[in-house]
Symmetry: C2
Subunit: 147 residues, 2 copies
Amino acid sequence: MDQVRPYSALIERLRAAGLRPTRQRLALARLLFEGGDRHLTAEQLHSEARSGNLRVSLATVYNTLHQFTDAGLMREIIVESGRSYFDTNTSEHHHFFDADSAELSDIPGDEVVISRLPAAPSGRIIERVDVVVRVRNRAFGPHGRLT
Amino acid sequence: MDQVRPYSALIERLRAAGLRPTRQRLALARLLFEGGDRHLTAEQLHSEARSGNLRVSLATVYNTLHQFTDAGLMREIIVESGRSYFDTNTSEHHHFFDADSAELSDIPGDEVVISRLPAAPSGRIIERVDVVVRVRNRAFGPHGRLT
DNA sequence: GTGTTTGCAAAGTGTTTGCAATTTA
DNA sequence: TAAATTGCAAACACTTTGCAAACAC
């Protein structure tokens, strides 16, 4: 059945974004979009793909994530230097970042409210406002010492 | 005069942080702390140091920035993957990030107000809340096209 | 003198790129 | 078959590390 009419919704989604539904893109799209909201690095997605049967190169994973991001299917989130997270939730929302586990998670919809925001500097417009709530294990203090 | 009693305030500041006031650390501290609030990458600080007469290696600049950060003299801010900014303003405040110029700047004190914040996930405590207002040149759209 | 700090060059990350081979329409 | 996509390996940018020489106290 899969062979006959595989994942037509995702295929349409890719086509609508102007991306050919290749085997790699489709398989990555399944991993990304069929499991609810996800926050993944390229490495993580790559190894998930490998664990399932898909043969994809890391370069293709990067390309695909950027193509999906450019197409508005996902967002790139930066919380650590030297690593990008990609978020399948494109609605307006903010994030927890757990420094101990390096995991990013959504803050449910309305639990962050910004009641005042500055005007953009002259000649600029606000493109996006990111709020990152950095959390850590309760047991450790600012420099890794016990609290 | 400089030779007799050079920068005693900064020297004290370093000593108080448990850092020997070496020539390199003192010179970097001057660049960082004597010019108001600054937002610099390691590379930027390194080239400033070289422009002034100081001979410092990039590795020492990195070490020094981390030591200062660990000592609470500055903060590290992450807004772009693959690059760290260091902020000499340690008071609670947030940032503009201009994607066109890759420049980071402070949002004056009370111009960002967060009126609701979620509880930390269980077993975690909130370490810090970062708000980054990403701005760009008014003339360009989401993918660099004219608006 | 003794322990700390520095500089260098090498190694390490995560990410991007160039290009021939493959796949899609 | 023409154009888009993929994989590989090399190239990249930024950061960290190891260790001998230089320095601070």
